[in-house]
Symmetry: C2
Subunit: 398 residues, 2 copies
């Protein structure tokens, strides 16, 4: 049986006028101070970085993708090695998603490839109320995900926080289709809950289950979904389907429409968001944690984060270190940044590494970006505790 | 003017019967205890590793390639940033080669590509007594290397140890061509010496110049070259053209044929050698330092070093972590290894990273391999100091 003490959420400070809060999630593998950014380690590794780097870069928890880990190395191997954290040698909490997002997004990708004449498979994703049949992006093999299968896989992966199986609709989708998918997601939420509480358990620690609010860009659906999911016995609430939207407004709306229905005492996770200029909005909207591949993906492209005054809302706090004006720049990526990369390397050197397509380039830029975002979120936490959030926000965004 | 005190070679212990010795090279940027392995950081980075990793992995000195650094980022940028070590944030000694090896080997590569119909350039490498005209492997642009230019570039790069410009013949080459190339190398050695002592100097520390013995697989030429180079006023002696040979025997012969002519009081570097089963031979042949890309190149392929009893002369101390039998292996790469990778990761995890083509795979395997080889060479140093080299060698090779 799982140990019930292995999950707890406490609110440390709540702003009386605003939705903002500082909290603490306790898991069997450690504590997450919220608001928290969650770096994504899709296949059991945050690309290019070791667990030691991630600790140095102030990561508190890592995100693994069930779809990818199921296909490779397979949940049975991860289970055999003591769960995801131990498998990857990360001495801290982990969260896995349900696989839903990847099943649908990688399925679509396959369809696009097909349109370009790259194959003959169509309808790679076959959605029924029972679950989803999809093909592996690795070898084309057929797989079935149902709420029961997703939770079973996640039980074997053994993350501290796990997610209910959901359907994530593409953008744009009609109101009708979005509603259908939402209703399916709600049925799947109930089934995910049921199976999550049922034996067998493969690891001794408790795995807290988050329900997922969907509903696309439609206010009535978001509200309906928020109400439905919030009324179930989940440990936490996630908001999904936001990163596929196109505008910041849509993201903010999805949070705001859900907010009135969110239970105060449960942690809230926003899926797939984490650009620098989103973070203030997200936290201001009452979100406790959020994950995003952007810091590492941008890092691999040579886009690195810089703070004010160089970084601002116009340049979206991004510096492209590939650009020729970095070739002779003796400055670190960011003068204010206290990370290992900024303490040791010039922009010119990192520019050179990108031009030469050296492995170290991707690593250094990813390390900096993860540190930068974790550090920013830490400062935001401190600003909330000191009742200075708005002032801090203005210093960054105005 | 350069500071003459910035280079010194001392012999600590010399075996009375054998050629083996333990020594110490002092440079402006630190001390190298010999015998020493020198990891290769071709473009100003040992692929995938930070200077901090390299310190942890017990690297004492790094090797940079003049050809690559000349093409990108260019020696003027490196000079502006305080020389190669500072540019790459390596707080220790560096050595650069003359560019000769790359000019010839990458030139040949280009010709092969041409034969396969990839272009129309032939005779990419144009060798005259004056120097060599070659085309960049990056953009096809024309470049000229002469002894004067090579040394000028190396002066700007500012490594502590630099090499005379030489011609490295392909394998196999006729006696006649090898002799011609050797004679050219000797003329270039004289010109390299002259220009190395001439102003301007771009950095305040002394750059010790090594002459290079060539002569291919021919005893008379190796002896002639060893005699010629040893009689000149070089700070150290390098043996070149060995890694292009095909057999271990040829490598050992090149060392042994040169040995009688090598001055006792100058450090000896062997270019391009460093497989585990070569190391004992090389050190036994009286070599003080040697560089090789093998630990990092193999690392990127998933070939990792293991010691006895698993590693032996038959499997050449190599383990292929890509192989399926690693997929569920809970052991570290090497149980005896004290490196960060072996302390934290299983073979199964590293196998997974290679299968998933994750950046971290290349990094972890390279880190282990560099640590492994540095640690082995350190143990060999200790075994010589304790007069137990032969016993230690038998434990590894028998």
């Amino acid at each position: 049986m799982q140990n019930a003490k292995d999950f707890k959420f406490e609110i440390i400070v709540k702003d009386k006028k605003a939705k903002i809060r500082v909290g603490k999630i306790t898991t069997a593998h450690g504590i997450i101070e919220t608001p928290a950014f969650v770096p994504v380690g899709t296949k059991g590794t945050v690309k290019g970085l070791t667990p030691q780097d991630l600790r140095e870069a102030e990561a508190q928890i890592l995100f693994g993708n069930t779809y990818h880990l199921h296909l490779r190395p397979g949940e049975d191997i991860v289970k055999k090695f003591g769960g995801l954290a131990k498998f990857m040698s990360w001495n801290g909490p982990t969260i896995t998603d349900s696989g839903g997002f990847q099943v649908f997004s990688l399925g679509q990708l396959k369809m696009k490839l097909t349109e370009e004449g790259e194959g003959t498979q169509v309808n790679v994703v076959n959605i029924k109320d029972e679950g989803v049949i999809f093909r592996s992006h690795i070898d084309g093999s057929k797989h079935l995900f149902t709420p029961e299968i997703s939770i079973e896989i996640q039980k074997k992966l053994g993350a501290d926080l796990i997610l209910a199986f959901d359907e994530c609709v593409p953008h744009p989708s009609t109101h009708e289709y979005t509603r259908e998918a939402m209703e399916r997601t709600h049925k799947w939420a109930l089934r995910s809950l049921t199976v999550s509480q049922r034996k067998p358990f493969y690891h001794p620690w408790r795995q807290a289950l988050y329900g997922i609010i969907q509903g696309g860009v439609y206010q009535d659906l978001r509200e309906k979904s928020a109400k439905f999911i919030s009324n179930l016995d989940f440990d936490g609430i996630a908001i999904g389907g936001v990163s596929v939207g196109e505008s910041k407004l849509e993201m903010r709306q999805a949070i705001d429409w859900s907010y009135p229905f969110l239970p105060e005492n449960k942690p809230r996770h926003l899926l797939g968001i984490g650009e620098i200029d989103d973070i203030f909005d997200v936290i201001e909207g009452g979100i406790d944690s959020f994950d995003c591949v952007i810091p590492t993906r941008f890092g691999r492209y040579g886009i690195v984060f810089v703070g004010p005054p160089e970084g601002n809302i116009k340049n979206r706090f991004r510096l492209d270190v590939n650009k020729t004006n970095c070739a002779r720049d003796k400055n670190p990526i960011s003068k204010e940044c206290l990370c290992y990369v900024c303490a040791n390397f010039t922009r010119a050197y990192i520019h050179h590494l990108f031009r030469a397509q050296e492995l170290l380039a991707y690593r250094l830029a990813s390390y900096h970006n993860i540190f930068f975002i974790n550090n920013l979120v830490k400062k935001i936490r401190e600003s909330i505790l000191e009742d200075k959030f708005q002032r801090f926000k203005r210093a960054w965004l105005e």
